[in-house]
C-alpha cells in the first residue's frame, strides 16, 4: 500500500483515537479513582506520579453501583442466547423432518429452546453459587439506585422503540405508497423538525402537556374531560417526548426499505392468490424487515442513554440512567462513580450496536 493509501486510512483511525479512545481512557481512569475534595475532585492523579497513580486505582466504584451484578446478568443473557442458538435448530430438525412448516411449529420450537436455555443457565448459576461462594460478593448490589436506573432505562427504551415502530411503520408505508411527485414533500415534512433545536422542541411539549397546557385546554373546551389531566412529569410524557423526537429515525430507514421495493412484487403476490392483507404479511413485511431493524436500533440506542427528555418532561419520578449520570456529576460532584456509571452504560450499548452493525452488513451482502 502506498503512503497515500495509508494516510487516507489513517484519518478515521486518528479521529477514533482522539475523539473516542482517549476520552474513554480518561473516563475509565476516573472511574477507577476515589472521590476527593480537590480540583479535580478525585484522587490519585498524575501529580502523584504515574506508578503511585496506577497503584491507587481500584474497582470500588464499580462494586458500589453493582456493576458485578450487571456483568453477571450480561454473562447469563449471552449464555442464554448462545444456548438457544445451539438448541433451537436442533429441535426444529428433530420435530419436523422434511415437511412444510407453519408459524406455530416454529413458535413451539422457539419456546422449547428458550426453556431449555433458561433451565441450563439456572443450573450453571446454582452450581457456581455452590462451588464459589465468594462470587456472591461480586454480584452484591450495595445501592439499588443504579441497577434500577439501568433496568428502567432498558424498559423505557424498549417500550418507546416499540411505540415508535407502531407509529413510524404506517407513516413510512403511507409515504412509500404516495404518488411519486408527493414523496419529496412528505420526506421534507419528516425531516423538517430537525431544522429547529431539539431542546426547543422538547420545551414546546412542556407547553402542550402541562396542566394548563394546550392539550388540556383543548380537551376541557371540547368537554372530553372535566378536570385537567396530569401528563407532564409522568412516564407518559417521557414516552411522548421520545416517540416524537425519534420518529424520523424510525420512519426514514423503513421508508428507504419500502421505497426501493418493486411494486410488481405485491402485484405478483396478489396474482398468485394473496389478498391485499396476506400480500402485505408475506411480501412487504419481510422485505421491510431490515429497515425495521435499523430503525429500532437507531431509536433504542440513543434512547437508552437519553437525558434531556426525562429530565425536562419526566419529573423526579422517572428513573433513567442518563439522568442519574448527570446528577452524579453535577449534583453529587462524585466524578468517579459517575464515570463508572458511564463506562457500564457504554458496555451495555455495545451489544445493540454490534447487532445493528451485523444487520447492516447482512443487508449489504444481500444487496450486493
Amino acid at each position: 500500500m502506498t503512503w497515500r493509501g495509508r494516510l487516507l486510512i489513517a484519518v478515521p483511525y486518528v479521529w477514533l483515537l482522539v475523539l473516542f479512545l482517549v476520552p474513554f481512557g480518561i473516563v475509565l481512569k476516573i472511574s477507577l479513582s476515589d472521590i476527593a475534595l480537590a480540583i479535580p475532585p478525585y484522587t490519585p492523579t498524575m501529580k502523584d506520579g504515574l506508578w503511585a497513580m496506577l497503584s491507587g486505582l481500584d474497582f470500588e466504584n464499580y462494586a458500589f453501583i453493582g456493576a458485578g451484578a450487571v456483568v453477571a446478568g450480561f454473562a447469563g443473557l449471552i449464555l442464554c442466547i448462545a444456548m438457544y442458538r445451539i438448541v433451537f435448530p436442533r429441535i426444529r430438525r428433530a420435530m419436523l423432518p422434511d415437511t412444510a412448516t407453519t408459524v406455530f411449529d416454529t413458535a413451539a420450537a422457539a419456546l422449547t429452546a428458550l426453556a431449555v436455555a433458561i433451565v441450563n443457565v439456572a443450573v450453571v448459576v446454582a452450581v457456581l453459587a455452590f462451588v464459589l461462594p465468594a462470587l456472591s460478593d461480586f454480584v452484591d448490589v450495595p445501592d439499588f439506585l443504579y441497577f434500577a436506573a439501568y433496568l428502567s432505562s432498558l424498559k423505557i427504551a424498549a417500550i418507546s422503540t416499540f411505540l415508535t415502530l407502531l407509529i413510524g411503520y404506517p407513516v413510512a408505508y403511507g409515504m412509500a405508497r404516495a404518488a411519486q411527485h408527493w414523496r419529496p414533500t412528505l420526506l421534507m415534512l419528516v425531516i423538517l423538525p430537525f431544522w429547529t433545536s431539539f431542546l426547543i422542541r422538547v420545551y414546546a411539549w412542556i407547553g402542550i402537556l402541562s396542566t394548563e397546557g394546550y392539550l388540556n385546554q383543548l380537551l376541557l373546551s371540547l368537554g372530553v374531560i372535566s378536570a385537567p389531566l396530569s401528563i407532564l412529569n409522568t412516564p407518559v410524557a417521557v414516552y411522548i417526548g421520545i416517540v416524537y423526537t425519534y420518529l424520523p429515525f424510525m420512519v426514514l430507514p423503513i421508508y428507504a426499505a419500502l421505497e426501493k421495493m418493486d411494486d410488481s412484487l405485491v402485484e405478483a403476490a396478489e396474482d398468485l392468490g394473496c389478498t391485499a392483507l396476506s400480500a402485505f404479511w408475506l411480501v412487504t413485511a419481510p422485505l421491510s424487515k431490515p429497515g425495521v431493524i435499523a430503525g429500532c436500533f437507531l431509536v433504542f440506542i440513543p434512547t437508552l442513554g437519553e437525558f434531556v427528555i426525562p429530565s425536562l418532561l419526566g419529573g423526579s419520578d422517572t428513573l433513567m440512567i442518563g439522568k442519574v449520570l448527570w446528577e452524579e456529576f453535577f449534583n453529587n460532584r462524585d466524578w468517579p462513580v459517575a464515570s463508572a456509571v458511564a463506562v457500564i452504560l457504554l458496555m451495555i450499548l455495545i451489544i445493540p450496536i454490534v447487532l445493528f452493525q451485523r444487520n447492516e452488513q447482512k443487508q449489504r451482502e444481500l444487496d450486493g
Partner: protein
C-alpha cells in the same frame, strides 16, 4: 394478391363454432385525459399463443394488465370463458402473469417462489411438493431449488418466473415482455423453450412484446397495436406477407413503401392487375390486388427488400427499375443494397450472400437493375 393458406391445423379463429376463451367487447381504458385503449374488440381462443405487438405506449401492457386484474376497463366488458371478469380481483382470477421485472420474491428460495401460489390455493400440502418438482423439471431448474433469486443468472430467473406463473395451471398465462432482459442468443433459445412449454402444458399464452421478431417466432396470431387500437390481427405470415396498412407493413420487418396513384384499367389487363403511377418519367409499377382500388385513387405500394432482385444486366420481369447503388449494408448471411431509382427515391433490395465476398461484383456507385414480379408486392389503400 393470392393468399398462401396457412397450414391450417390449429386455426380456431376460422371456426365459427369455436367459442373464444377471452372476449374484449368495446373495451376503452382512460387514464385521466389519456386514452390507453380505444374501443377495442378482440377474441382470443383457448390454447392460442397470442402476441400483442406494438411500440411502447401503444396500450399493449394496459390491455394485458386488464386481463390480470390490475386495471379495470373504463368502458366495455372483458369475458373469460363467457364470464365478465371486470369485478373479479386478481387473486381470484384463473389467470397468472409473468412480470417484466420477473417480480421474484427476493426473500424466498426458488422452491418457495414456485410454491408461493400453490400454498395460497387449496391444494393439499403433499401435492404441492410434487407440483413444484414438476415445474422445476419443466424449466430445468432442479439444481437451483435452494438458491435465492439474487444467486442465479438472468436466464434462470426468467425460468423461475415462468415456473411460478405456470405452477397454478392457470387457464391463461400473461407474459409481459418476458425475454426483454435476456441477451439476444439466450432470447432465441428461450423463445423455442416457451413454445415447447406452451405446447406441453396446453395453456393459453398472451405475450406482450415490442420485438416483432419475437412475436413472429412464438405466436400463433399477432395483434399489431397502435395508439390503443388494433391495426391488424392475423397469423405471422399474413401480417408479414399481407399487411392491411402501410403502418403494419412498416412496423413488421423491412419494407419499401412507394406512394402513387392507380392508373385506369388497360383493356387487355386481368381484373386483378393494378398499374401504379409513382413518377412522372418512370414507367408505372405493375402489381395485383384482389380488390382493385378505383382508378386515380392514391395508394401505397409495399414490397419487401428480399423480393426485389438486384442484377447488373437488364432482366426480363414485370417490373424493372434502373438505379445506382448508394449504400450496402453487409449482414453476413445477406446484404441490403440501397438503390436510388429516381431522384430522392431509394429502394432497398436484399440478396443472399451465397458466394464469398470476393466473388461478388456489385459495389458502391454501380449501375444496377432492380426487378420483381407483379405479385411480389402489396397494394395498400390505408
Amino acid at each position: 394478391m393470392a393468399q398462401p393458406k396457412p397450414n391450417a391445423i390449429f386455426a380456431p379463429w376460422h371456426d365459427p363454432a369455436e367459442k373464444p376463451l377471452i372476449q374484449f367487447k368495446n373495451v376503452t381504458k382512460r387514464f385521466g385525459d389519456f386514452t390507453a385503449i380505444d374501443d377495442l374488440t378482440l377474441d382470443i381462443y383457448a390454447k392460442e399463443f397470442f402476441a400483442l405487438l406494438g411500440p411502447s405506449g401503444c396500450g399493449k401492457t394496459t390491455l394485458m394488465r386488464m386481463l390480470g386484474g390490475f386495471e379495470t376497463p373504463t368502458e366495455g366488458t372483458i369475458l373469460l370463458d363467457g364470464v365478465d371478469i371486470g369485478p373479479v380481483p386478481p387473486n381470484e382470477r384463473p389467470v397468472n402473469m409473468m412480470f417484466q421485472s420477473y417480480a421474484l420474491f427476493p426473500h424466498l428460495t426458488v422452491w418457495d417462489n414456485i410454491a408461493f401460489g400453490l400454498k395460497r390455493s387449496d391444494m393439499p400440502k403433499d401435492q404441492i411438493g410434487d407440483r413444484v418438482e414438476r415445474m422445476l423439471k419443466l424449466t430445468q431448474l432442479g439444481k437451483f431449488a435452494k438458491r435465492k433469486p439474487h444467486q442465479i443468472s438472468g436466464g434462470q430467473r426468467q425460468r423461475v418466473a415462468l415456473a411460478r406463473s405456470l405452477a397454478k395451471a392457470p387457464k391463461l398465462l400473461l407474459l409481459d415482455e418476458p425475454l426483454g432482459a435476456l441477451d439476444k442468443k439466450l432470447r432465441h433459445e428461450t423463445q423455442f423453450e416457451l413454445m415447447d412449454i406452451q405446447e406441453t402444458t396446453g395453456t393459453t399464452f398472451v405475450i406482450v412484446t415490442h420485438d416483432q421478431e419475437e412475436a413472429m417466432t412464438v405466436a400463433s396470431r399477432v395483434a399489431v397495436m397502435t395508439e390503443g387500437k388494433l391495426a391488424q390481427v392475423a397469423t405471422p405470415d399474413q401480417i408479414y406477407e399481407a399487411p392491411n396498412s402501410a403502418y403494419v407493413a412498416d412496423f413488421i420487418g423491412d419494407v419499401n413503401l412507394i406512394e402513387g396513384t392507380v392508373e385506369a384499367k388497360a383493356p387487355d389487363a386481368r381484373a386483378t392487375d393494378v398499374a401504379i403511377k409513382w413518377s412522372a418519367t418512370e414507367p408505372a409499377i405493375m402489381a395485383s390486388a384482389e380488390i382493385r382500388p378505383p382508378a386515380a385513387s392514391s395508394v401505397t405500394f409495399a414490397i419487401r427488400p428480399e423480393k426485389v432482385t438486384i442484377t447488373a444486366q437488364k432482366p426480363e420481369a414485370a417490373n424493372v427499375m434502373e438505379g445506382k447503388i448508394l449504400d450496402i449494408a453487409y449482414l453476413g448471411n445477406l446484404s441490403t443494397y440501397h438503390v436510388e431509382v429516381a431522384p430522392g427515391v431509394i429502394i432497398k433490395a436484399q440478396a443472399t450472400n451465397s458466394r464469398r465476398i470476393s466473388r461478388r461484383n456489385l459495389t458502391w456507385e454501380d449501375h444496377v437493375y432492380l426487378s420483381w414480379t407483379d405479385t411480389a408486392g402489396v397494394v395498400l389503400t390505408a
